[in-house]
């Protein structure tokens, strides 16, 4: 993936807004699920589905399980 981190973060933010139905949400690389009320287990699945579709990538389940924050999610996207 050749996109820079800021661009990926911006696009992820749009996906979070759409999936979590939260217009004001602003994520950063250090954002975790605990920081976002709507980021529950079902919405986590919905986020993964939308992120895979948007970036046209497929994650491995062990990669998803290793994510501690948005930055680590971005690392996996960039690796793809």
């Amino acid at each position: 993936m050749t996109m820079d981190r800021n661009e990926i973060l911006k696009q992820l933010n749009d996906i979070f807004i759409e999936v979590l139905d939260h217009e004001e949400i602003v994520i950063s690389e250090s954002t975790t699920a605990a920081d976002v009320e709507e980021w529950d287990s079902l919405n986590h699945i919905m986020l993964v589905v939308e992120i895979e579709n948007h970036f046209e990538i497929k994650f491995k389940s062990n990669a998803i399980l290793s994510w501690k924050n948005v930055g680590q999610m971005m690392d996996t996207i960039i690796e793809k």
């Binding site: 699945i45 589905v49 895979e52 579709n53 389940s61 998803i64």
Partner: protein, 131 residues
């Protein structure tokens, strides 16, 4: 994963008088379009129109009972109503696996209900999770 992209599933459903009556009772939607033939005809329909959301009950049956994998949960579904459904019309249902997201055990189906004239009466997508 017990599914492959393009796997296809078929079923036949009918909105019969019993289903119509039960849905009237559970939804409490007695709108004239669904209950008064003359009214529906005056609005350009052939007869009173069955509630579109009865088709959501059929979707529930398909996901809960019609798949080879029974441990499933519906995450989301969409439905678009393209044509009216009338009493006792046979509906051909087809669902195809459109996408599989193995990392989170998700399967996405694209489905269509067609009437006896092979016109689509409703279509949409369902996302399920495998438990």
């Amino acid at each position: 994963m017990k599914f492959k992209v393009s796997d296809s599933f078929h079923a036949e459903y009918v909105v019969n008088a019993q289903i119509h009556q039960l849905f009237l009772e559970i939804s409490n939607d007695h709108n004239l379009l669904h209950t008064d033939r003359e009214f529906a005809v005056s609005k350009g329909f052939k007869a009173n129109v069955m509630h579109g959301n009865i088709l959501n009950c059929f979707l529930s049956h398909f996901i809960g009972e019609g798949l080879p994998h029974k441990n499933v949960v519906i995450h989301s579904q969409t439905i678009q109503f393209n044509n009216p459904v009338y009493l006792d019309e046979k509906l051909q249902f087809q669902a195809k696996v459109e996408d599989i997201i193995e990392s989170v055990n998700v399967v996405i189906f694209k489905y269509n209900f067609k009437n006896e004239s092979l016109k689509s009466v409703a279509k949409g997508k369902i996302q399920i999770g495998l438990l």
